[in-house]
Symmetry: C2
């Protein structure tokens, strides 16, 4: 593959796109004309097939076949069937993954299960720079743990994970890729460190599934959670996933013990008896139409090699960082330059980041901003082209050269992005 | 209104339908030709507007406007906005109801909040004949309560709620309408009894919302949960609702403390600080496309008076019970004859119920079966006609007269219905 450093002109980028073995995948998505979409790390675009497939689910399965679709259209089995498909993308063999509920709720289940497996340990490790909801859910899980639990934070007072590991640690909740900086952790090494210390690990894969190889089985990961609406393109707020290693399933318990997690949900027993396998991590009835969006998104990934996606993703982010460094030498890129430490996004620290991101949107480049001062640009290898990267860097440079923050309209806070 | 007992012929039923002030509502739904759909108590049919509205959400909001739709299409506010619309149907003033997650998960939140408000009481009352997931979730909530909790069951050993009330009772979890028998409880009286005993109440409204007047504010209900895919017609597995009385909100805590429940979700604070109002009962990102199905379903209910729906519902079930009693005098109807004790379904106990329901489906009447021996028929006043009731009773009688259980094909177990 042509290294990103050889792409020294827009023409070279166009040539690189033409030679890209993944080039055809872009046509599987609806990308509005003229738009450079660098926000797939927040919400992936719509697969072209989604309109027809979802319409069939709505009009045929719901509208015509009605209640019968729970069987005939396979609605009831979707969390398990889609779970296995997501499992394939994270290197988890069948029977270990479900698509259901939200990432936060699945994390709550996983934390309860993990601390239940380590009844004599009272510490949960997390990251000071974690996506906040993971920290909030840890708070909630600790309060409902039924025994005193404490949290230790990696990064607080500069502490490393090694310095926090001892015989009190039950589990660590870690983001594979940091949502702000795009920094990537080493699953293999850290999982081994935790296991050596007698602890378990829960990996939050929200920002790595679909763009980074994960090796759930290979690295003997205990639990993983993540969402399906970023690089998986499952649709806004589509149900999340949870993976639980086979070895833990029989002993793992979680308190959201709804009927879909029962060993015989339609026996209508009075007492809860969990399914023997992964289904004990289900709870209630799932939102079928949104689930079907995940189904379509996984169709798009059929036959696509995650290793090839990773290779292209690294080339895209490398090119962007090189162009930004060339055009805007004073700007601080906080995403690691070393590819083994980088996910699929580039984060730039800039105190005028908010108006710059708004101005870039007006000029056709969608990125996003995370307070207080981070501009985030996600590079999804399924549909972002090298020419898009080139153009986006130019537009970023132009916005800064034009001092767009002087325009009042770019400083209006729009709320959620 | 013409009493059901005066409808002594199919012709009288057709006349009654023609005079029905709610008649026009049926056209708002897609009901397949020739089908009598008596399973709206399990999955409501598709509103006619759903295809276009959902298609707009999928193709325009997701496909074209992408991430911007979190603001421009109001995605982020949907749980609160739809919550207020659901609130209107249960008699809860604004700011007390959310549409989010599943009934099971919302029940878990409500139980935690309730027992947190009664820290010196250790008993949860439930019903022996409850829909099982409510019992399973109570089990899970008790295990994660952080203090010893016990469950007492109404109906076990014939015990009444009065006999179970004492100063140890923190909360009762009760189904407004029983999912099997269709029996309706008296919210006003029971809520008062519980309050008089110093306890709180959580009403499960799954089988009453949309067909029975509820009076959340009027009866000073503490908490309510329920689903949106039965008589509300929100689509398969559409997100559920939770209502929390204003008076409890500031003190009520629940452990599924995800970022959508934070006072400032986009401040990305490290520590959880709950929203001051109902939003503290949110957790994570919601499935927008399925949520939009609820939005459409609530449009259908706009301007429809729940009292009028209730009146028609009672006339429909009364007619069905009268016809069944006339045609099949030996059959045991377990649903209460007294209208004040009846929801919107009729349940018939019959040991050959399973093959009978299958045969009725083949003959165009969709009901369902609940093990071991209950045939359930739901009468949704939005789209079920009196002539449908007449015909359904005839077809039920014909299936029994034909001894359809002798046909092997009707005895094949199809799984979920």
């Amino acid at each position: 593959m042509m290294p990103a450093t050889t792409m020294v002109s827009r023409k070279a980028c166009v040539a690189r796109d033409a030679a890209d073995p993944l080039q055809g995948l872009r046509d599987r998505f609806v990308i509005p004309d003229g738009l450079i979409y660098l926000d797939g790390n927040s919400l992936g675009p719509m697969p072209r097939a989604a309109a027809a497939v979802l319409s069939r689910t709505i009009e045929r399965e719901w509208g015509e076949a009605l209640i019968g679709s729970w069987n005939s259209a396979g609605w009831f089995d979707m969390p398990v069937r889609l779970g296995d498909r997501v499992g394939a993308l994270i290197g988890a063999s069948a029977g270990q993954t479900l698509v259901c509920d939200t990432t936060s709720i699945n994390l709550y289940k996983a934390i309860h299960a993990a601390i239940g497996l380590k009844p004599d340990r009272g510490v949960i490790i997390a990251e000071d720079e974690s996506f906040p909801t993971d920290l909030y859910i840890i708070e909630g899980a600790m309060k409902s743990a039924g025994r005193p639990m404490r949290r230790r934070l990696i990064g607080a007072d500069g502490r490393s994970i090694e310095s926090l590991l001892d015989r009190e640690v039950a589990v660590a909740v870690l983001s594979h890729v940091n949502y702000r900086t795009g920094a990537l952790l080493d699953i293999a090494t850290i999982t081994r460190q935790l296991h050596d210390a007698g602890a378990l690990v829960i990996w939050d894969l929200c920002h790595s599934i679909g763009v980074v190889e994960i090796g759930f089985d290979l690295h003997e990961v205990d639990f993983a959670v993540g969402c399906t609406y970023k690089y998986l393109n499952g649709g806004p707020g589509a149900p999340a996933f949870i993976a639980v290693a086979k070895a833990h399933q029989a002993a793992a318990q979680q308190p959201l013990s709804g009927w879909w997690g029962h060993a015989a949900p339609f026996a209508f027993d009075r007492d809860f008896r969990p399914d023997q396998g992964i289904k004990r991590f289900l709870c209630g009835t799932q939102p079928i139409i949104s689930l079907r969006g995940v189904d379509v998104a996984l169709d798009v990934m059929d036959g696509v090699d995650v290793a090839a996606l990773r290779q292209k993703s690294l080339a895209l982010t490398e090119l962007f960082m090189a162009r930004v460094a060339a055009l805007l030498p004073g700007l601080e890129i906080v995403t690691p330059a070393q590819s083994s430490l980088r996910g699929s996004q580039v984060a730039i620290e800039f105190d005028r980041g908010y108006p710059v991101v708004q101005a870039m949107i007006e000029r056709g480049v969608i990125g996003d901003f995370r307070a207080p001062d981070i501009m985030r640009f996600g590079f999804a290898p399924l549909y972002v082209r090298f020419q898009d990267v080139w153009d986006a860097a130019d537009i970023l440079a132009a916005c800064i050269r034009d001092e767009v923050w002087r325009e009042p309209r770019f400083n209006r806070v729009l709320g959620v992005t």
